[in-house]
Symmetry: C2
Subunit: 199 residues, 2 copies
């Protein structure tokens, strides 16, 4: 575990520090969002909202997030795990207009582009939210969201910080498999799934 | 991050996979317990309870845990973060009588014993719950519980997986400092704090 003490592990520890179990079976995009927002504000906690539960300590929570006008103005269908790639991108831009937030549909991106942008973000304390099809990975369920936590060059794999912890723990997934799982059709959007980079 | 893919990282990933933010400002021992119980059952999910929230997937949750007779028979004071070392030990033995669960008051243990037992547990997918005084570490707050996640030999430090994530993220703490923070008086027990090993 000594390797975890190096500077390259800082982003990893920031990300893993803040991943909750999604509060309901439909809150995958919400849990993913608050993981990343709490991690990105680790050194700037004054950018977090103060909630009743944890006052006076500021913290992004799933319940407050889902009640935000930034969510309710974009979709009334979160209860079906219903944020598409475009919807979550719009929600995150509304939550924090000061950040650079970019969405990439896998159908118009490439594996190389995904790997490069995700590794860049994870190396610099940025966040990567991925929208993928579980079936494509042989997992139970369908469309899902989770953050990424780390990249291992030797095996070209990303650590998937699954927010549905009652289903699956964190796991290393080959970049090619992850990209294929994102390059699937989201029928509620009529577009492919993909990833969002939050810097 | 390649180092995280080795076999020595398995216990670390199991532990970090399941740490929630404590559901309220008083649920530190509860959040610590469910972290460890979910991690220890990662390969035996049939040993987890099925809860309404995540059915059909079995999972230990903080709310179900706190409502368990194993908790309510031991203390009615959880709302003040009030499980002493002895109380949480009794609760955990009641929750799963099949496990080996041992408590150690820091006042009658030694730093060497703590280090050896904690490293043993973390190396073998066991869990370590520590009860310590935040003030002793220069942190805001008083008595607190959290699980440990890893040990780094080079710096003789443990990774503290703080469940009060709204206060502090995961952090490496020197074994000596951690032991000193456990070797403090818990006035509600009239005994020192300490640690529990769950195997």
């Amino acid at each position: 575990m000594d390797a975890l003490q190096g500077t390259t592990a800082k982003a990893f520890l920031a990300m893993t520090s803040y991943v909750p179990t999604q509060a309901t079976q439909t809150f995958c995009s919400i849990a993913t969002s608050v993981s990343i927002l709490n991690a990105l504000t680790m050194q700037e906690v004054d950018k977090r909202p103060v909630t009743e539960t944890y006052a006076p300590y500021p913290y992004f929570t799933q319940q407050d997030f889902v009640n935000s006008p930034c969510v309710t103005n974009v979709t009334s269908d979160v209860d079906h795990c219903g944020t598409t790639l475009s919807q979550l991108n719009a929600i995150l831009k509304c939550i924090d207009p000061s950040r650079t937030i970019s969405k990439y549909h896998a159908s118009t991106a490439s594996l190389d582009e995904f790997r490069r942008k995700a590794v860049d973000a994870l190396s610099g304390l940025g966040g990567v939210a991925i929208n993928f099809d579980r079936k494509s990975l042989g997992q139970p369920g369908g469309g899902h969201w989770s953050p990424l936590g780390a990249y291992a060059a030797a095996s070209d794999a990303f650590l998937l910080l699954d927010v549905a912890k009652y289903k699956l723990p964190y796991a290393w997934v080959a970049a090619t498999d992850l990209f294929a799982a994102m390059n699937t059709m989201d029928n509620s959007a009529n577009m492919s799934r993909g990833f969002i980079i939050i810097a």
